[in-house]
Symmetry: C2
């Protein structure tokens, strides 16, 4: 087996993202403190997000709309126009937030780009993800970029077929067990899990411990060596 | 010259879209009538949309956020929470609006799919466009779907290279002179302009009259014959 293609998740794998969502949520909680206490408010927002996911998909714009909707629901008729103005501004700030690559990312991608075809595979808002990739300065290292509405087995089969030599000769790398690792392994690819400091509740799942094509890494800098090991062990 | 690949725009080429935006704008104008008169309000909304385009991109979610922002600006501190609730609901209705293929679209695509590789090339929100394609029942006729953040010469070169045999052997079909026709012709492809009853102001541009690879059709049903003529005339 020879790995030819490496798929990489973007948010919280290449750069910080969830921390920015968390900071915005904290601001949201503070703004609405007069109307709802914190645990109820967070639960309410999560419920609205789940309800809207099929219509809004993933990304900051849908998150902003869900915050606005939640705020109006908990305020129950009170005038919260100033709060809504703040929420809109918070959403725009998230969209224009500077992109900070995680430690070791630029160096590691430069090494990997010499050896493999790199494909960025991410969910989220199309223009925002493209803007972030451009701002990261990492765009030239990727042979292809796929912004997808869902990351399932069929997605990985299709993407690795189109941009590589099929899923059996590909590895997928990311911080979400549920979206990056499990469906990629199911498609026949290798899967490397690199946890981020926090994980969005929707993305939690159990690890496929002991699976021959699975690995957990503590940092992206371990990736080149892990890929070589996988290549040798499954040769 | 043999045309192998036909790119098709989606909104207002395959199904109604701009009319739904216009209806929502009319509702927006009615809701805010107490705060601003119609011409100013429409101009204000257009200005907010332009300002946000770089951050929000194209699509219903960004349009909804721009309507909310505009409403708060024109209300100037008044309590418009009920109006904002209506705007949010209008946005969700747009996202779940039934998809109505334009007259002649299913039959014409069925004919074209036998002769050419069909590629859907559209701007907008990723999940919304995928949902619309699924709801249209036309998905199986397309060899590929590309949802892009911008439609320029480079986009068409890349897409027709990836999914076809290059732009020189491809035709692009759509209702926007600026986004569908001109940049595709610039990339070396053929361009067929099929005007819709209304056009978004951002998409207006002059026709390349007399260009050997350009045609204006009054309906999509004229497309198979036009493509054959183009093939013959440039043979």
């Amino acid at each position: 087996m020879t790995i030819t293609t490496v798929g990489l998740d973007a948010d919280d794998t290449l750069w910080h993202n969830e921390t920015i969502f968390r900071l915005t949520q904290d601001r949201f909680v503070a703004l609405l403190a007069p109307y709802a206490d914190e645990p109820n408010l967070r639960e309410h927002l999560a419920a609205v997000e789940r309800r809207n996911l099929r219509l809004y998909g993933y990304g900051v714009k849908g998150f902003t709309l869900s915050m606005i909707e939640t705020a109006m629901e908990v305020a129950d008729g009170a005038d919260i126009t100033p709060v809504l103005r703040e929420i809109l501004a918070a959403g725009r700030e998230m969209l224009s937030h500077p992109v900070e690559p995680l430690a070791g990312v630029p160096e590691t991608l430069a090494i990997l780009a010499d050896r493999y075809r790199l494909v960025l595979i991410t969910k989220g808002d199309l223009m925002h993800q493209e803007n972030k990739l451009a701002a990261s300065g990492l765009g030239d290292l990727f042979a292809a970029v796929e912004i997808v509405s869902e990351k399932d087995r069929a997605t990985y089969e299709r993407v690795f077929e189109r941009y590589g030599t099929g899923a059996a000769e590909a590895a997928m790398v990311g911080n979400s067990m549920k979206s990056d690792v499990l469906p990629a392994i199911e498609a026949g690819a290798f899967g490397a899990y690199i946890p981020y400091v926090v994980t969005w509740a929707h993305e939690l799942a159990d690890a496929p411990e002991g699976h021959p094509r699975y690995g957990e890494l503590s940092a992206i800098t371990e990736l080149p060596a892990w890929l070589e090991t996988m290549d040798r062990e499954t040769a």
